[in-house]
Amino acid sequence: MAFLDLDRLSLAFKKEQVLKEASLQVERGETVVVFGPSGGGKTVLLRLVSGVMQPDSGDVRLNGRSILDQGPEERGVGMAFQNFALYPHMPAFENIASPLRARRLADSEIERRVHETARLLKIDHVLKHFPKELSNGQKQRTALGRALIAGPEVLLLDDPLRNVDAKLRYEMRIELPRLLKSFGGSVLYVTQDYKEAMALGDRVAVLLDGRFLQIDRPAEIYKNPADVRIARLFGDPTINLYPVQPRPAGNGIEIELFGSKVTLPGSHGHLQGRECLMGLRPEHIHVHTEPVEGGLPMELDAVTPLNVRTVLFLRTQDNRELLATCSEHEQGNFGRGHRAVHARIDFERALFFEPASGTRLPAAA
């Protein structure tokens, strides 16, 4: 039995069905990241768990008992909001102390615990400041402190890093896992940044159109996406997609690709004769300046360095676009682009999808 059990939750706003029987189980001490594009019902899901909203149908169980009939103040959850939702008329200290005040702890105990939490979050020097005097990073940490301080069994984090600058967001991405593990409760973390989801989640639950399309460990979702939409959401640059139709050839199968005939590895043999959408991740395309075995000739149109990897913008012989990446130290080989190159594609790791529904076509058994 799961610790936190969201059981077939449905909710409609006006005529729009935001959640359609969404189910998710979270174990004790586990961090599950709810990932999806904006407006996908992620925030609503957290509101249902926190109790500030009620589902049309379905149940929320904590430790096997339904908590739907409890008000938000009785559920003992902690929550941090995307817009921080700090109390503007109270200093940071009182903001963080609020859950302890509600539990009527002694002043000395409150004092001690607020300072302890603030030290952990590195905001002990701004406790006397009002929210408007805090930087965005400090606001975000104050909100996190308020959510954590009472040691809730369930912590709800609604895109808490969205409104802080890139550098701070990165810093928190590195620090948060340790903080969340030391806190020990179960965490539901909402984000629309796939890197954040992969970095922070023990598991990632992909919420699309009101349903959880895939719930799995981050690496599994990246390597084995259940749907083409998930494949497109995970990865930067986005996965390259081309319609192909594998045909038998000799003792294997082959496809028409970029104006050439390409033989696919035996592991894709079962796809023979099916129309499908082939997904090639940019990092599985290796670009060389000299001809290589199995390399397809292409034109390199532009080189756009990212931070750790560099994106190569390729044009194939049948005038299609293809994005590949290379590591930073290889980038120097390519100059400003506009030259002929040869791309070797790792077809072993290609992903295939059903063109109409977008469902992943399973790998060979």
Binding site: R47, S50, G51, V52, G71, P72, E73, R75, G76, V77, G78, M79, F81, N83, F84, A85, L86, Y87, P88, H89, S98, P99, R101, A102, R103, P131, K132, K139, R146, A150
Partner: protein, 285 residues
């Protein structure tokens, strides 16, 4: 881009002065009149130079109006007290009823909520004369004519819609997340209302209270019809200065100045909260 040079600065100053004079001149003239006798006022041509007298104020405070036709007893100080009492209690009652109602309208969508809110606002567009006749008949029947309770009740027509609509807007501006956060912290909804919603909407409540106080204070027609001399506010009481032997301009002017004073003081006091509201600003997080 600010390209101000000395010439535009001077022109701007002059324009401000002209506008100020235009709006404040009547008030300034009334203030001067209040320190003059009727004869000085009616001089032709009028003059700005005169010997100031406090006789007008003295007459109002003592309640004895001495004119060429004899001595007239007036109850101006009584009227002033009535105004203070009626306006204060009306606004207080409207706040007690209106602020929670405004919160409900702002936070909850219930059946007919928009219709009810609109009906309450519609009290403001009906001309008072339209409701006065039936109202005065009913009041006579149930014995509310010429009572403070009756007047305060009728004043709710003025104060309640104003408070409801202004304060509702302020509540709507507070992010619901802030209240949700406080609930999730473990506080009851009542504490959330008193510790979060009320303090954050305070500037709005202050503004609405001030405005409805002024409207109540300036009301004339309800008090004229529904109250007799003993319960009448200053607006109606000033009619007493229109006597058979002429109009007592000096006393009227002094009465105007005295009746402006309470609202002016209140506005100056409430300004603090209005400004505080602006500087608190980041309510939306």
């Amino acid at each position: 881009m600010d390209r101000s040079n000395p010439v535009t600065k001077i022109l701007r100053g002059l324009a401000l002065l002209a506008i100020g004079l235009f709006f404040l001149f009547p008030l300034f003239w009334v203030a001067l009149m209040s320190f003059q006798t009727n004869e000085q006022i009616l001089r032709i041509p009028p003059s700005i130079v005169f010997e100031p007298t406090l006789s007008n104020y003295w007459a109002l405070i003592s309640g004895r109006l001495v004119s060429t036709a004899g001595v007239l007893e007036i109850k101006f100080m009584g009227n002033l007290w009535n105004s203070v009492f009626l306006s204060t209690t009306s606004v207080a009652l409207a706040l007690i009823l209106g602020v929670p109602a405004a919160y409900a309208f702002a936070r909850f969508r219930f059946r007919l909520s928009e219709d009810i809110a609109f009906t309450l606002l519609s009290f403001r567009f009906a001309p008072p004369l339209l409701v006065l006749l039936p109202l005065s008949l009913y009041f006579q029947d149930i014995g509310l004519t010429d009572t403070y309770v009756g007047l305060i009740w009728v004043y709710q027509l003025i104060a309640l819609p104003l408070i409801l609509w202004i304060v509702r807007g302020y509540f709507e501006d507070i992010s619901p997340d802030i209240e949700h956060a406080y609930r999730i912290d473990g506080h009851s909804w009542w504490k959330t209302f008193t510790k979060i919603a009320l303090p954050l909407a305070r500037p709005g409540i202050a503004a609405a209270a001030l405005l409805s106080f002024i409207f109540c204070w300036n009301n004339f027609i309800f008090a004229l019809i529904l109250a007799s001399a003993g319960k009448q506010p200053v607006t109606v009481g000033a009619l007493a200065f229109v006597t058979a032997s002429g109009i007592q301009y000096g006393q009227i002017a002094a009465a105007v100045i005295l009746s402006i004073l309470p609202t002016l003081l209140l506005a100056l006091y409430a300004q603090r909260y209005l400004v505080e509201g602006l500087s608190l600003g980041a309510v939306k997080g």
